[in-house]
Symmetry: D4
Subunit: 255 residues, 8 copies
């Protein structure tokens, strides 16, 4: 039914009966597909410029595969996050045409590594933060935007951050990923004037309370221009940074 | 001393000895003024496009006045937040040329209400959230960006939000201010695809725990593209939203 | 001894010495059976209109089976919640005449799916909330009341909730199940004027703190008419919604 | 404008052009009045059977008075909660025709104490819980339902609760208000099979943490059929209990 | 070395050089044995009337066995708590002369079930609380005091507690064990005037937060005469109740 | 009515129709007086050996006075806690025959300082803990038991505690009052084998979180035989310690 | 009595009967003075090299004065912290010979500002942290150690910290005082290898939760060599830093 | 490349072109090695006197081995913490020349047990705290400083601590490790005047909340001179204690 309605609409567009702008508007109102266990939003990409994303955690490989297959009927670009290697292997066997990104624990279709200067920089404080940072970076790339990955620049070795400054100060948005005391967000915020999305991670132990320490630190950052997403939410930070970067023209090197 | 150095530099610029770009770079390195109780950052505006902001809470009117006077020697645009009416009256008596914004509890110099379509939309859920929302809106305007103020559109009357949609869906960034359960951020995030900065407020009682409930809700928003600042931090949200909007070209009405 | 007293009482009823109403009153005072590890309340159904419910979590399959067998001597309708599939298989092998509901993780006897318009609507925000929602729905059905199951209508896709409105606005009570930021309860509460029982779930990660974020959000709902049960307590919500619905006459379609 | 539209509609109803049922439906869609600081929902009573309620806390007497006056143009029944005596005195001087309820800290218009058997019972554990309980009771009465007020029946003197049982076991809904350890909700829930709305209060000290102890206790009640509202939220409990009772026919004394 | 000093002392006692009372005093000062991984307090029983207790959790069976063997050189009565069945089996194989109590998860030597009227009553609210309650009861019995075990008397069935009253109101101290909302402590405290030691348990889920809800409720009990020990600390409650009971003469039945 | 029933009963006792023991039993069942704002329990003293206690906090002086007057019709011994000096002055003016204890912030009638060796020892760690400790001590004395007050023996000067040991090791029960880190309870628990009731106080700042640090420390005390009451609950500790001491015979000095 | 014993001892020292070292040892054992409300530790200075410190918060000016007078009989150096200006004025009127330090909110006797290179550096992040930092600095000076005060070097302006590095990298111990996100401790810890005592302050709002955010951040610092004291505990940090510095020889400038 | 630059520098030192002090300064600026997953700081030892430490938790044995091999090219002394026995076995097979310390769960190269009087004393309260205490002790020894290990001296047996006093009162710094209520830090702080670094451990259960109780207790210690590190952070405490001790000359026995 959906496809019938879309087909009819596209014919009207083709014949000039309906303007593109109006067709876009109507498509945004079309309903979603119903699987027995999930309503799949088929036109999300049209509305938001980004495909539906599948949150793999807590879903069986079979459920992930079924949702991905349904989405792949309508989309070229697909992203499934929080898929551990064992589950990924099963899904890859069930659904052809997907790629698995081990570091980011994600499955994609239609992902390419964009070339050119980085639109978004993703920094992380320690090696244990890399999975979250990699998820953020991959999410940005799904929009076709180039990413600078700057790993392991924690503030305990402050010179590392200072050394890396040229690599991130030209980005249109910056994602800062850090666990423990989360101070990297404030330090980066004190160095550049770009929109900064901070991601606390659950890296740490004891009084880190599963990321709470980093979360509170980032929310209380003394540097203006920092906003925060949920603990370990690399996808959310990458999604928002990508959204900001995609609406920003490339910066002149002189600025 | 500062001004001597700046003067010398500018003469070199004027004579062509130093290129503008290089002069800008040097200015960014210049030191800050030292008051007995505060280091005033005189070139922050050059570095970040935004003047030093004075956080008035916990400072005496005399301290606020002294800092403002020092800043006014170097800046045209000034913002002091969290100044209650009684303190403001004292400061206004000490320092001429300031304006007080009652709703936003802020003092400004050089503020003008920009005309034209809104670059940033600021929504708030209830009347008690208005002071925080007004602080956010004023902060955006200090960059010369127009703001759409959309007050009292809580989700308990869902039609109010839906009615207001045309007023915010074209903004380059959206600030959502809400206390209690903070659901407005998720609802707005489900309606439009713009960068959303959510501000939890301490409005509520009992199990709102001073804004914790709204904070946690916003961090856990099921809508992608939402990031969060500290409880009641209208300035921080307005600062970041303005930073995003100022690097984004005006949107075409058709988008 | 119990059965002697009940028998004697029933003979008095049979002979007209005791009126039914009075017999009911006396039965409500009768004691409970004692197993070595649990006091089984045999007349709960008479007192409350609902059979004793066995909370399976933390009990061995053998313990569950023993309690169920004792209850089945006196009751036709039985409900055991929080029984995982492996435990259920063992119990089913030990006790004949039970049915297992995989989605709701529950064992029943005497369950039938009631026909007709829904007395209670159960909504859930995401697919991961389904087990809790299914437990609530099954609990309602154990009273012989019809349920509308409305799954996966989270507020990130607000149109889904709006589309589903006709399916829940006529119910006599509504159960809203949601994890993450729990905003669905407020949104539903802003759409209809029915008693709403909200169930926060532990679905989420990071700053959801095991369901705390959703719990606080629901307690602070700006929509009046919402009350909350414990995190993941689908049974409790279904029990209360069923209690409300069973004392309410069917609503006219015009209201 | 609103009144024009309503007038036109009512004339159509009067002339038979529009059926009452249809007119009711249209009225539910009409917009709300805009004050400079609040959107007043004028047709809430039509939609929900209950007038807009003004939450007085954090508002100035002048603001409360302005909102009430605007509402009184359209409504006969008005409720303003959380109005302390000093503010109430000012409002009463500004707006004629209101009554102040000291115990419940509320202003009303159109309140009458309904006669007959109680539709809702409100219990509270200690004398310090009375303001919250009184707010709940008054809220129920605003629907025209009779209330049984049962004060100071804490479980430390268990015989008090047992003595009071005849006064609450016939109610169609029960509100239980308690601070400290909040055990009253469980005890009442163990005695009767009615819908119970529990209200934790901030009464207590030390490890009551502003009502948190009672809140958690009530959420974990071992008695099924108990749901909870926010700490000190007497209005919310009374609103929901009244909603339940108003859709339930009076119980026969024999049940 | 220890035994030499004790021997010499006892010879002085035997010869009349040292009075028994003085010998007791000196023994209380003697040092403790040193194992490579633990200082074993050999004269604790003399000082406190109770043998050293081994907390088994987190220790290997071999460590438990070594400590027990060292203690058994000096003591007849031994108690090891928190020993799960698998560890117990290993310890029993290594150290002869011990008994394992499955319900209480404890190993003992020298335990006998005392006869006569109960000096201490131990109540628990649900079947899941039994392990903690059993640990408390066994601890009391290690002092040679008789215990009344009253299991599964939660307040959701209030008549069960009332029925059990004769069994606990004569005890010299009462231990109340309950999870979830912990209301049993307040209810018992409202019925009798005995010293009550309340033990919150981690039984529950969701907002019970691992026993926090019950802990807070018990600390806020409106019944005077209730004190609380750590979550799941059956040993601590039994130790203190036994200490109180052992210094109290048996109560006359008339009191 | 109450007095009529009591009078009749006492005449029956006087004439021998009713035995004293039976009369006591009946009196325990008699109802409580109803003031407009509080149910006053008139026979509590008979049931528990302790008069009804008025918790003054949150009550007006007039309310306190009214309750006290009603109680004084039936009781000789009266205790009102948490009465600040200003309120006390008003109550003393309204109700003759009361004494005010400034340190303990309490009003009493019938209080005498008992002579002889201390039945209960009350220790406090710092001078700021004295109000709570004094409330505990006064509560014990209301039972006619002698108290040893041992003030300002915090563990930072460990020799102070050791010096004070002879003054508390013979008591039948010990109350330990401490704020900050609450270590005094463990230290005392390591020195003597008496029942110890620990009272955390809200003394401290920062990470004491209003007494939470001391509360948690005391609950986790490594010394067996320690139970805890609510933060600042001097009355509760004194009540329980007095209850224990009153059922314990005086200890021989040799024990 | 104390002075008699001290006098006798000193005469023995004077005559050579007792060696100085032995006299010191004996003095360390001497008791403390007893005021009605406080045990004053008269020989603390001998034991610890630091006079007894009076914590003024929660004490009346009269109490502070009495304690100070008693201490001044035995000591030349006195420190009273947390004395607000109004209380200080009263104390100064009662006790001659004291000095008040407004910034540090402290009273002293015998304080001199030591000359020479700084033994301890005290840094603070913002102007609002100055009272806590000043208390720490004054506490260090009471040992006769020179202090470098480095105010207002928050990480949002990272160059300020880097500029200040020469002023603190030669100190024998460093105190870092910061509120909000507390990142300064990690940044300083990443720059130098000195013992660092971090003091979180309650400066901040919203999710700083009274200093909790800074406290957790500092405890989780990724820089090794950082330890933390209680929120706002400038005295504690100054005391420990002074203790460390006083046992460390002055550093060579080359190290 | 690094080694080339270092070689060249050292030749310049050797030839006198560069002074040692200057060479040291330059070396401190040299960069770090980049592994694919970690930036290895090769000159940390020069800057801080302590080699880079590998935090093993959350890293695979292969990752640990790779980092250690890279470090061993430049360093003689190596420390890897939080390596469980299974991982250690794998690493030992991959990297020759390492030693595993079972109690401390650490791998080292270049560790020797220093002889002579202890520079640092490490105390722990219970046997379960030993792993954390052992990690602290080993960390101190990696600086070549002798350590006194004083295990199992909890305050429940206060005489144990008092007996051990001679073994720790001469140390230049003291590490106190304790779980449960953490009182040992205050008791030790009340006995000696040395810098004390307290380590809360996660030992405990129930209301210890994973070490939170001990953490808060230690932060609120009434003994001055105590600072705290993260829960279970034996390394951090040992690092700081070693840093303090290494800059302190050996104490004379008379002091």
């Amino acid at each position: 039914m959906d496809s019938d309605r879309i087909e009819a609409l596209l014919e009207q567009v083709s014949s000039g009966e309906v303007a593109v702008k109006d067709a876009m508007a109507r498509l945004r109102e079309l309903p979603y597909a119903e699987l027995p266990f999930a309503r799949v939003d088929l036109h999300r990409e049209l509305r938001t410029g980004f495909p539906e994303v599948v949150f793999g955690q807590g879903k069986t490989p079979v459920q992930i595969a079924a949702i991905l297959e349904r989405l792949m009927e309508n989309h070229n670009r697909i992203l499934a996050t929080r898929v551990d290697p064992a589950a990924a292997a099963e899904v890859l066997a069930l659904v052809p045409g997907l790629a698995y990104h081990l570091e980011a624990r994600a499955l994609t279709r239609g992902h390419e590594t964009p070339a050119g200067p980085a639109a978004v920089a993703v920094l992380c404080a320690g090696t244990a933060d890399i999975p979250v940072a990699a998820e953020a970076a991959l999410t940005v790339e799904m929009r076709g935007l180039a990413v600078a990955r700057i790993w392991d620049v924690g503030v305990a070795g402050l010179h590392r951050v200072l050394d890396a400054r040229p690599a991130f100060e030209q980005a249109r948005a910056i994602v800062v990923v850090a666990g423990m005391e989360g101070a990297l967000a404030s330090v980066v915020g004190g160095l550049v004037d770009r929109p900064i999305i901070a991601v606390p991670t659950s890296v740490g132990y004891g009084a880190s309370f599963g990321g709470l320490a980093a979360l509170l630190a980032m929310l209380n950052s003394c540097a203006a221009g920092v906003a925060v997403v949920n603990i370990d939410n690399g996808f959310g930070a990458g999604y928002l940074a990508g959204r900001i970067a995609s609406q920003t023209p490339a910066l002149q090197s002189g600025k």
